[in-house]
């Protein structure tokens, strides 16, 4: 999100694998995926079934548009605030209907991907890397949505809310850090 946005992590397996690794090495993007998955898990089976398809599609679209932008989008502050909002919705156990949650998830994925795409524009192998990241996103969201699909026992429902609370807390601290150390 700050410095790591500007470069890929060299895995030695080419840009495709670098892009896949990027999802796990970029806390902002990984937390967005986890936050949206948690929200979908709380919302019900319909969202769990649709999110793993919607998320990669929105992400790849946003990334492709981002690659065409002339300069890097510096949206760390609003992106962190939105991440905190996703975590807060999970922590408060707000069960959004699919008609609200799915467009929200698509919009967030699109925005974050725009930022990622604009950061990688001009980087050799950027397209392959972003596609690799899209595939990793699809795999992670599918694994989590399917293996943790509702109905939830009480302890797991609590675990989901704790996860949301952690995301919000991390985002709050990050917001303060961004204000103290502006980009």
């Amino acid at each position: 999100m700050i410095a790591p946005f500007a470069h890929l992590y060299a895995t030695g397996f080419g840009p495709w694998a670098d892009g896949m690794a990027r999802l796990f090495l970029e806390p902002t993007e990984l937390l967005l995926v986890i936050g949206l998955v948690l929200l979908a898990l709380q919302a019900g089976k319909t969202c769990c079934d649709r999110l793993p398809v919607l998320l990669p599609v929105a992400w790849s679209l946003g990334a492709l548009i981002g690659l065409t932008l002339p300069s890097e989008l510096l949206l760390a502050l609003p992106c962190t605030a939105l991440l905190g909002m996703v975590g807060l919705l999970v922590a408060l156990d707000v069960r959004l209907r699919p008609v609200l949650l799915l467009p929200l998830a698509a919009a967030l994925a699109l925005l974050f991907a725009l930022v990622a795409g604009s950061a990688l524009a001009g980087h050799p192998g950027a397209l392959a890397a972003l596609l690799g990241e899209t595939v990793a996103m699809a795999v992670v969201s599918t694994l989590l949505c399917q293996s943790l699909a509702p109905p939830h026992p009480r302890w797991r429902a609590l675990g989901l809310r704790v996860g949301g609370s952690w995301i919000t807390a991390a985002a709050l601290l990050m917001l303060g850090w961004l204000v103290r150390h502006p980009q």
Binding site: M1, I2, A3, P4, Y9, F24, L25, E26, P27, T28, L30, L31, I34, K45, T80, L88, A91, V140, L143, L144, Q146, S147, L148, A149, P150, P151, L158, R161, V162, G164, S165, W166, I167, T168, A169, A170, A171, L172, L173, M174, L175, G176, W177, L178, V179, R180, H181
Partner: protein, 199 residues
């Protein structure tokens, strides 16, 4: 009913847990900023450790709904305190508040006091702000601040969990005595820190 595939879940959790460490190794040359540094920070101060364990212990003694309200609400309130610290908004008596938290919550558990949920939440929230403020002010400059923050929150949550698990031993024979002994130590450490803070 959906079938739960535990091996895959476990594999995903392990991968997610290990990934940020790799990020720390690759992305951030600054030793202060990163997942491991954030994970270690809360356990580097005994005052924070005993207070967080005491929060979990008190939650266990209070039983539901406090038991599940606590781990959800505490990290967010603590992070709010951290935000205030990062923004440079001063809170008077932070060190005294931190030291008092271990003592007060230790005594609450020792005497098995069960105030109304709103009052318990208010006490814990006040202490959470003190702890968050102190740690927020210490958040280091580095490129992996989000990883650091996340790890810090996770470590704090795990300390709560430890407290809750210790508190649940009350259900076993002799467990109540064990918990009383543990919180006695917590209160004593809190008292020592309070004495130092008041000097």
């Amino acid at each position: 009913m959906a079938r739960t595939n535990w091996p895959w879940t476990l594999l995903a959790c392990v991968a997610l847990a290990l990934a940020p460490m790799a990020a720390w190794a690759h992305a951030d040359p600054h030793p202060g900023g990163g997942f491991v540094a954030g994970l270690l920070h809360p356990i580097s101060g005994l005052d924070h450790v005993v207070a967080m364990v005491a929060v979990g212990l008190w939650g266990a003694v209070l039983d539901p709904p406090a038991l599940w309200v606590l781990p959800v609400a505490f990290p967010m309130v603590m992070a709010f305190g951290g935000l205030l610290g990062l923004l440079g908004i001063p809170i008077p008596g932070v060190e005294i508040g931190i030291a008092a938290s271990g003592l007060v919550m230790g005594l609450m558990v020792l005497f098995e006091l069960k105030p109304p949920l709103w009052l318990a939440a208010l006490i814990v929230a006040a202490f959470a702000v003190f702890h968050g403020h102190a740690h927020g002010a210490e958040l280091p400059a580095g490129s992996n601040a989000l990883l650091y923050s996340l790890a810090f929150v996770i470590a704090t949550g795990l300390l709560h969990l430890l407290g809750i698990l210790l508190g649940e031993t009350r259900r076993w024979p002799g467990g109540r005595r064990f918990v009383q002994g543990a919180v006695g130590v917590v209160a004593l450490i809190g008292l020592l820190f309070l004495e130092q803070a008041l000097r």
